[in-house]
Symmetry: none
Subunit: 539 residues, 2 copies
Amino acid sequence: MKKISLYDTTLRDGTQAEELNLTTEDKIRVARKLDELGLHYIEGGWPGSNPTDKQFFREIRKHRLSTARITAFGSTHYHRTSAEQDPNLASLLEAETPVLTIFGKTWDLHARTALGVSLERNLELIHASLEHLRPHVDELFFDAEHFFDGYKANPAFTLDCMKTAHEAGADILVLCDTNGGTLPHEIVKIMADVQKHLPDAQLGIHTHNDSELAVANALVAVQHGAVQVQGTINGYGERCGNANLCSIIPCLELKMGLDCLGAERLKMLRDTANYVSEVANLRPFLRQPFVGAAAFAHKGGIHVSAVLKDSETYEHIRPESVGNHQRVLLSDLAGKSNILFKAKQCGFDVDRNDPRLEILLDDIKAREEMGYEYSVADASFELLLREKLECPDPYFTFHNFFVLDSKREEDELPLSEATVIVSVRGERAHTAASGNGPVNALDRAVRKALERFYPRLKEVRLKDFKVRVVSGVLRDTGGTASFVRVLVESSDGQNHWTTVGVSHNIIEASWQAVVDSINYKIHLDECEAKAGKGDPGAP
Amino acid sequence: MKKISLYDTTLRDGTQAEELNLTTEDKIRVARKLDELGLHYIEGGWPGSNPTDKQFFREIRKHRLSTARITAFGSTHYHRTSAEQDPNLASLLEAETPVLTIFGKTWDLHARTALGVSLERNLELIHASLEHLRPHVDELFFDAEHFFDGYKANPAFTLDCMKTAHEAGADILVLCDTNGGTLPHEIVKIMADVQKHLPDAQLGIHTHNDSELAVANALVAVQHGAVQVQGTINGYGERCGNANLCSIIPCLELKMGLDCLGAERLKMLRDTANYVSEVANLRPFLRQPFVGAAAFAHKGGIHVSAVLKDSETYEHIRPESVGNHQRVLLSDLAGKSNILFKAKQCGFDVDRNDPRLEILLDDIKAREEMGYEYSVADASFELLLREKLECPDPYFTFHNFFVLDSKREEDELPLSEATVIVSVRGERAHTAASGNGPVNALDRAVRKALERFYPRLKEVRLKDFKVRVVSGVLRDTGGTASFVRVLVESSDGQNHWTTVGVSHNIIEASWQAVVDSINYKIHLDECEAKAGKGDPGAP
C-alpha cells in the first residue's frame, strides 16, 4: 500500500482566510490537535513575516509531538542580498524546525512583475536559498508557486526552476496551483511532462479552491504520482480556500485505498474539524463533505425509509469511519455508544443497558440542539455526566448576584462591579469585586466568596472567553431561535479546561460557564486529594 | 463551439437541503431570476409529492419566460399499478410543462431493497412510464438514479435500464451520482462503457458533493461527451449539496471554451447567486468560488502589492466576468497601497503623498496591533477614514450609561437593564431599556434615545454578535495584554454592515461596535438622501 504524506498548512496558508485570525496560543492548541490526528507535517507559519509566528516556533518546542514534524515556511532570499545575509532565511533557521519549506517563483510573469528580476536571477535565488538551508535541516521542500500557470505560460522556464530546486537539494518539489484556476486534466498532462524531465524527483501537490476543484486536483495528482498532499483543515485559506484535508484524507483512505492516517485515527477527523473551527471561533459549514453536520442528514421521506432499511442506499461511506453520524429526524440512533465511550473515559462504570444512560442521552440531545457544544467543552461534559450518574452534593448554593457597568465620559473606560451571595454548607458569603466587564467582575466576586472554603480557587485564571450567537432549536415549539453560546477556557497553571454556557441572555450563558469552571476546579482538587499527589484526573 | 444545456434543479433537488424552505412565491421569484440568467431548463418540483409544487406549476404558466423551459419531475409509476392509472404520472401531465423528467432505479440494490421489485419488473416500470408520457411532451429526460453505484455493483443490469429508457423514447439519459461517492476517473471509465453500448444516446450528468467532487465530476463528464449538466444555484441540496452551477458555468465558459450562457449573461452570475440566497434567507457562503464575497479578496501584503501591479498575478479569471469584484482586505500586514485602494473605493480622493495618509496608516497599525480587525469590519473602517480625512461633526454626544444585570434565583434568567443619556444638537435624551444581556439592553436604550432625531434607526437589527479575547500589543510598554474584540453585524433589511470594538472591558468594546453601527446607518441614510433616491453608497 502506497504511503502518502499529509502536509497541513492551516496555521500558515489557512490564516490568509479573511475571517481566520489565530493567537499564538490558538496555534499551539491547533498544532497539538493535528498531531493527535496523525498528520505528518504541520506548517506553523512564516517566522520572517510576523511576531505571532516567531513566538509559535519558540513555544511549540516545549511540546512533545507524537507523529507530526513542525515545518517553517519562507520565501527564497531577497534579490538584492545573498542567501547568507538574508534576514528571512536567518529567521527560518532560528525557528529550529527539522523541516523547512521554501517557496519560489516559477511563473515568468511573477519573476518579472512581482519580484522584478530577470529569469536567470530567479534561478539563482532558488538555488542559493535551498543550498544555504540544506545542511541545517532533515527535510527541505520546495513550493513551486504558480507552477501550473507558469508552465502554461513558459514551460521551459518553469521546468528550469524545478530542475534547479531539485539539484539544490529539495527533497520534494511541490506543484502549487496558487490561483486555483487549473482543471484536473491539465494537472495530469503537466505532471506527465515534469516526470519526463525529472524522473527521479519526488512531487507534492498544493491546490486552491477558486474553481471548486481543489480536492479533485489533489486526488488526480496523487493518482499520477504525487507523494505529498498539502491542504488545510476545513479548507480554510485565502479567497476560496485551500484544498480541504477533511475531504482529501477520507477519499485517499476509503476510496483510493491509500494509507495516510489509518482507520482508527480517521475516526477523529470530524472532531478535529470541529475543534479547529471552535478555536478559530468560526461557524462550521453545515454542508461540508464528510465532517459537516448535514453530511449524513436525511430529509426526504423516501431517502429516510430507504436509509433505515439499508444505509448504503443513500450514504457513500459509513459516517462513523470519519467520526460523523447519520442524522435522521425521526429517531437518532447514534449517540449512546459515544456517551458510553466518553463515560468510561471519565472513569464511570456504566453498563450499556443502564436506564440512566437513556435519560442522559435525552438531556444531551436537548442541550446540543439548543447550542451546547460538548466536543470542545470537555469539563462541562464531565460535570454533566457526574451530575446525572452520581448526583453529587453541590459544592455551593447560589442566592443572587448584581452586576453594574457604568460609563460617565466618552474617553473613560466603563467600571464594572458585581456583588454575589452564595453559601457553602449553610455558611453565607457576600462579596463584591470589580473587573474588566461584567463577566470578569462576576467571576472575581464569586471566586472571592468561595476561596474561603476552597482556597485553591486562587490558582484559577480565565484564559479565554468566546461568545457566539447560535441558532438553537426551541424544544417546546420545534422552531428555532437565537441563543448565545459562551466558551470559557480556564487554567490553574497545571491543567487547562473548557466550559460552556448557552442562554438567550449572555450574562446567564457566561455565568453557567464560570460556575462550571469553578466546579471543575474543585472537583479536580478533590480527585487529586483522594489520589494523594497523583494524577488529578483527565483534564 | 459545442453547446451545453444547463438544467437547474434548485427548486426540486435543492430544496432537499436541511435549511432550504421555499414558498410558492419564492419559487416563482427564483424561476424568473434563473430565466433572466439564461438557464435552459428549470425543474420546478415534483407535482405528485406536495401542494407547494403543484401550485408552482399552475402559477408559473402565467409568466412569460425568455429562455428557460419549465420541467416537472417525478418517478416511474408505482409497481402495483399501471402507467395509465398511476396518480403520480397523471399529476405530471397536469403540470402541463413542455418537458418532463422521470427518475428510475438503475441500481439492483435499490430496485430490490427500496422498491421491493424484481429486476425485470424494474425494467418494465421504466419502459411503461416513459412510453406513456412520450406523446404528451416536447422533451423527455430520464434520470438514472444511482447510476454509477449501480454500474459498479451490476453493470449489465444498469446498462439494461439505460437501453430500456433509450428505446422508450427518452431524449437524454442523465447519469446520476446520487450518493456523491464517485471519483472523476470512475466517471470517465463508466461513461466510455455506456457510450460503447448506446452509441447514439445523448447523455447528461447529475452529481452530488459528498466527496467535494461534484463540480469536477460534472466537468469531466462534459469533456467525455455529456450534453446536459444538472445542478443547483450555490450548490444547495440534500446532505452536502448538488453540483454547484455557479462554479460549473464559469468553468465551462471561461476555461473549457464551451458555450452555455454567453459572456453578457455570465456577468449576472453573482447577482443571481445572491438573489437566491436572499430569497431563501440563507447567509451566503463567504468562500464560495467565483461568486463569494471572498473569491477575489486579497489579504497578504505580498499578494496585495502584486495584485495592484497586475491582477492576473493572483486572480485566475477577471472577477467582472462573473459579476464579482476585487477586494483588498486590511490586516496586520496592511500597507499604504491597501489603504489607498480602500479609500478610493469609499469615494475619498486621496493622493499617495497626502500627509494625512501617513497619520492614518499609523493609527490603523496601532489599532490592529491592539486587536481591531478591519478586514471584516468594513463599516468601522469607513467611519475611521471619514473621521481622519474629513473630520465631520459627530451625529450625537455621549454623556453616560448605566447597565444593571441581576439574578435572584438559580433557575431564573438574569434581568438586564440599561439607562443612557445622549444629546443631539444640544438636546438631551435620557432613556432606559431592558434586553437579553447588557449589550442588548444598552443597544436598545441608545437607539431609543436617538430614534427621535434619526427615525430610520428603527430599521436596524443586530444580526450577529461575536466576542473573543485577543492578545493585543500595549503601545506604551511594548508588552502584550488581553483585549476583548467584539464584532457586530447589523442590517436594515437592504444593507448589511459589520463594526468592531476593542477594549480591556467587554462593555466598552461592545459599546464602540454598537456606536459605529448606529453612526454608519445614519451616514448611509445621509448619502441616500444626498443622492436623491439613488444608490446609498457602497455598503
